[in-house]
């Protein structure tokens, strides 16, 4: 049975403890790379942040070289000239060139065989970028504060802290992606990115909500450590997380591939890259950043420490995953050490059936059904 098949049937029994460690290491590496890149390579800021003027025209068949020699005629041969999208010519120059805006437009229009009204012109003052940055920063701070408050009320403050830390992680990593690949940063991308962060927290909330639900079941919560309970909850909601991310990302990829790639809409490209980066990092961090942080925070609670100690002494080993959910005392795998036990159970039901020493049945569903409800509706 493939991993996906088990996931589809809800039989997945992944040892998230192991993955969380890997995830945190991976995230730490990403953050280091991001910060290093930010300080060495910096960001490829669009003219909106530095001030300047930019012309765009649809000019099929006109090469950058042709454009440059034509523009040299009006003294703008030194401008930055790019081919963007499929057949759009983009010329960027510093603010001083604004005086020649009309001449450049006319030159470009002649080059492309069109009218001057076919040329898009964007002029940006030097303080505009600062203004955008300032309002984006302000929005981000307010947003993080609001989310912190909201989740503290809705769930609990430790989860809120974990969710916010995961979002900060998203911001850093995304800035890193823009820096490493030198993607152009424009105000629309900044705002699109921030907005999508609010939406990317969806996955985190799905996970935490389940965790909270499981936590409220004394029968379940008292039988395993918080770490195991979290791992169990992650398994339960994994397909949910995957699917919510997939259905959100498909349309964005369509924008990137169809809208920008095939049809050549430059703005769509800028937007969809920002959205994609935000969504992917949001989906990743909900599982690999937010969850371990909340586990770490919760395991430090005296109540959970006591629980862990009791379970460790009362049993010979750590119980992980869904095996524990069945409350089968005999299904103890390995020793207390995470390593062996985790590896065995991580292999999921394959391990369960393969390792003959384990007397449990394969993972079956999640939570023991309540007998009183059995067959009631028939």
């Amino acid at each position: 049975m493939s991993m996906l098949g088990r996931l589809y049937r809800g039989e997945n029994d992944i040892d998230f403890k192991k993955w969380w460690r890997r995830g945190l290491v991976f995230s730490a590496i990403l953050i280091v790379i991001s910060v290093l890149s930010l300080f060495t390579r910096g960001l490829n800021l669009g003219i909106d942040f530095e001030g300047g003027i930019s012309w765009e025209i649809k000019a099929p068949g006109v090469s950058v070289g042709e454009a440059r020699s034509a523009l040299a005629g009006v003294g703008e041969g030194g401008a930055k000239i790019q081919q963007v999208g499929t057949d759009i010519l983009r010329v960027q120059a510093p603010s001083e060139s604004a005086a020649k805006s009309v001449e450049v437009s006319q030159t470009l229009a002649d080059l492309a065989g069109g009218q001057i009204s076919d040329v898009s012109v964007s002029t940006v003052g030097p303080s505009w970028g600062k203004e955008i940055t300032k309002s984006a920063e302000r929005a981000l701070v307010f947003f993080l504060a609001a989310i912190l408050l909201y989740l503290s009320i809705r769930l609990e403050w430790k989860m809120a802290v974990a969710a916010v830390l995961a979002m900060i992680h998203d911001v850093i990593v995304s800035v890193g992606v823009y820096s490493v690949f030198q993607l152009e940063v424009t105000p629309p991308t900044v705002i699109a990115f921030l907005t999508i962060l609010g939406y990317s927290i969806y996955d985190t909330i799905v996970v935490f909500d389940k965790l909270k639900e499981n936590q409220a079941r004394p029968g379940l919560a008292s039988r395993m450590t918080f770490t195991d309970l979290s791992s169990l909850s992650m398994n339960q909601v994994l397909l949910r997380s995957v699917n919510t991310s997939v259905v959100a990302i498909i349309p964005v990829i369509s924008m990137l591939v169809v809208g920008a790639g095939i049809l050549g809409a430059v703005t769509l490209e800028e937007f969809s890259i920002a959205l994609l980066v935000g969504m992917i990092s949001g989906a990743y961090s909900s599982i690999f950043v937010a969850a371990p942080i909340v586990v770490w925070l919760k395991e430090r609670e005296p109540k959970n420490r006591a629980l862990a100690a009791r379970l460790a002494s009362g049993r010979t080993g750590a119980v992980t995953g869904r095996a524990a959910a069945r409350g089968d005392g005999a299904s103890v795998v390995g020793s207390a050490a995470d390593g062996a036990g985790a590896a065995a159970s991580a292999a999921g039901s394959a391990a369960a059936t393969g390792a003959s020493s384990v007397p449990t049945m394969p993972a079956s569903g999640v939570i023991p059904p309540r007998p009183r409800k059995k067959g009631k509706t028939r």
Partner: protein, 581 residues
């Protein structure tokens, strides 16, 4: 039967939401309204302007400066709106965002002119003329390009009516219209360069006329350098150019004294024909100390000419360019009996009147960002956005149906319902509030496909989980919804908070993204409760669902016998592999 009743409960809501969607769709189609397209989709001009700092008029107002009052900005917006309205564009949007002014003029034909028109921050002022110099070929003017804006923009206004107001490039100020007849000929100055005359009703004043036409006196002296823009202050003595409104050639160089009267003293101005059929401009000053009194104080210095006003003329200066410099023919005017006459063409008169009326914004506004979008690129972007959205919709639909079968189809129907309502809302807001659909908005709508389906995924997965745990479908349906609903509300709530904050805290058309994402999220909450819940309950209440749960993407409920035994695996297998028999 209890079950039946349970199923029926909520069908009312289902019916309701479907009716709303159908109504929204019908309304949209019947009304024939289409959503207003933002200028990034149909081409147009957009500007973001910031109020200038009082200490340095070339940079934006800093937080350390005293804030510009909302009234001032609103007044500036009013003035800009009237300028833009003169372009005859369908739906210009001029609004205040924080301390910025956002101007959007979609679909405007002459984009450069629109930009000039709004972009000119046009400080209107009256300065006494100290001397006029002839234009020599040697005169080089660094600010040539900008100077024309005021004039060219204003031309458009003239068409509305003959009662337009205006200042002439050349002309005389006349008080008392009746008197004009005789004096207007004071246009004695044959060339357009000649200064204007202020004509008073009293023929005696005609004596002033000669002054009008002779800038000759200073001719001999060297022409001074034009004052650089950063050295022009209200208190300074400055040298400014005058341009021909049409050809934009420099037609005069004036040395001017400190500002005598600010443009805010002018209440209105119109252009009209005098009794001789000549075009003249009739400004009306405000009454009181800040209006006509100030102007009269300046006039008194010029008639008779005195040291502060040796030429007896007062220049009307717009945006550091001399529009006209009429002779002052009387020492005192009444506020609504002033005319400026001269050799004006209709266009000149109307342009000058417009400049007088609208020229002076109460605050200097600096363009921070301007954008001209060509209609070609705009429609390409619209096309790409729509196609990408459609492709995304189809792909995501295939995924949902492959995964959830009938329940997946129901999820896509939910998307259609939301889409109809959203579209209706969009068209309604376009028509009533002038809210335009931008590319950012389209992106927001495309992303909202994911927002909506997420709720279905959360619910369906919850349902599957409960069924695997041993509940029957019917038992699971309500319980799962309760849990899923709480998750959906929590998650959508966070999304709405984010969208709302970003909408209010950011600037520019990009806000459309946050707006539509926010609206879509709220719609998702509504349809999840009123559509998804009853429709899933209804759909799963069929015999088909019991017999073939795989067709609904659901696992076979565990039977009592299979529970806890190894056979459980066997029972589930066919479901999982084939998605049902």
């Amino acid at each position: 039967m209890a079950t039946k009743k349970r199923v029926r409960r909520g069908l009312g809501a289902l019916l309701f939401i479907v009716l709303v969607a159908v109504f929204a769709l019908t309304y949209t189609i019947v009304s024939g309204n289409r959503p207003l397209l933002g200028l990034d989709l149909q081409g147009g001009v957009s500007l973001v302007l910031c109020p200038a700092s009082p200490s340095d008029p070339t940079v934006c107002n800093k937080s350390s400066d005293p804030a510009v009052s909302e009234d001032t900005l609103d007044q500036a917006i009013k003035i800009i709106r009237s300028r833009v309205d003169s372009l005859g564009v369908a739906e210009p949007d001029i609004s205040r965002q924080g301390t910025n002014v956002l101007v959007q003029i979609p679909g405007v034909k002459d984009q450069q002119r629109a930009l000039d028109l709004v972009g000119q921050t046009a400080a209107l002022e009256f300065r006494p003329v100290l001397a006029e110099y002839p234009v020599s070929a040697a005169v080089s003017d660094p600010s040539t390009d900008t100077s024309l804006d005021g004039a060219s923009t204003t031309t458009s206004l003239g068409s509305t009516d003959t009662s337009q107001q205006g200042l002439g490039a050349t002309g005389g100020l006349v008080e008392g219209e009746s008197a004009l007849g005789a004096q207007t000929p004071s246009t004695s100055a044959p060339s357009t360069t000649s200064p204007s005359t202020i004509v008073a009703p009293d023929p005696a004043l005609t004596a002033a006329d000669p002054n009008a036409s002779n800038p000759a006196a200073p001719t001999a002296s060297a022409v001074p350098e034009l004052t650089p823009a950063d050295q022009i202050t209200p208190e300074a003595t400055v040298v400014l150019p005058q341009y021909d409104l049409k050809t934009k050639q420099v037609i005069g160089i004036f040395q001017l004294g400190p500002v005598a009267v600010g443009g805010s003293a002018v209440e209105s101005a119109t252009a009209g024909l005098d009794q001789q059929g000549k075009w003249e401009i009739r400004p009306v000053f405000k009454s009181g100390a800040d209006g006509i009194d100030k102007f009269n104080a300046a006039a008194a210095q010029c008639n008779p000419p005195s040291a502060p006003c040796p030429t007896g003329r007062i220049a009307v200066v717009l945006d550091n360019k001399v529009l006209t410099a009429p002779n002052i023919k009387v020492a005192s005017f009444s506020r609504d009996q002033i005319t400026i006459s001269g050799n004006y063409t209709e266009r000149d008169a109307k342009d000058i009147a417009t400049a007088l009326r609208y020229g002076a914004l109460p605050v200097v506004l600096i363009p921070q960002q301007t954008e001209i979008v060509s209609a070609t690129l705009g429609s390409d972007a619209l096309h790409a956005g729509l196609v990408a959205g459609l492709v995304g919709f189809v792909l995501v639909g295939l995924y949902m149906i492959a995964f959830y079968r009938i329940l997946g189809v129901l999820a896509m129907v939910k998307l259609l319902i939301e889409g109809s309502i959203l579209w209706g809302l969009l068209v309604f807001l376009s028509a009533s509030a002038g809210l335009a659909l931008t590319l950012a908005g389209i992106t927001g709508i495309i992303v909202s496909i994911g927002v909506s389906l997420d709720s279905n995924v959360v619910y369906y997965e919850h349902l599957k989980e409960d069924i695997r745990a041993g509940r029957t479908v019917r038992a699971a349906i309500d319980k799962s919804f309760a849990s899923a609903w709480s998750t959906i509300v929590a998650a959508d709530g966070a999304s709405v908070i984010g969208a709302t904050l970003l909408y209010f805290l950011t600037v520019g058309p990009v806000r459309g993204f946050a707006l539509y994402l926010g609206i879509a999220t709220v719609l998702d909450l509504i349809t999840s409760y009123f559509y998804m819940r009853p429709v899933v309950r209804w759909a799963t209440n069929s015999k088909r669902c019991v017999d073939h749960p795989g067709q609904f993407g659901l696992p076979v409920p565990q039977l009592e016998a299979s529970k806890g035994s190894a056979t459980g695996t066997a029972v589930r297998t066919p479901v999982s592999t084939g998605g049902g028999s």
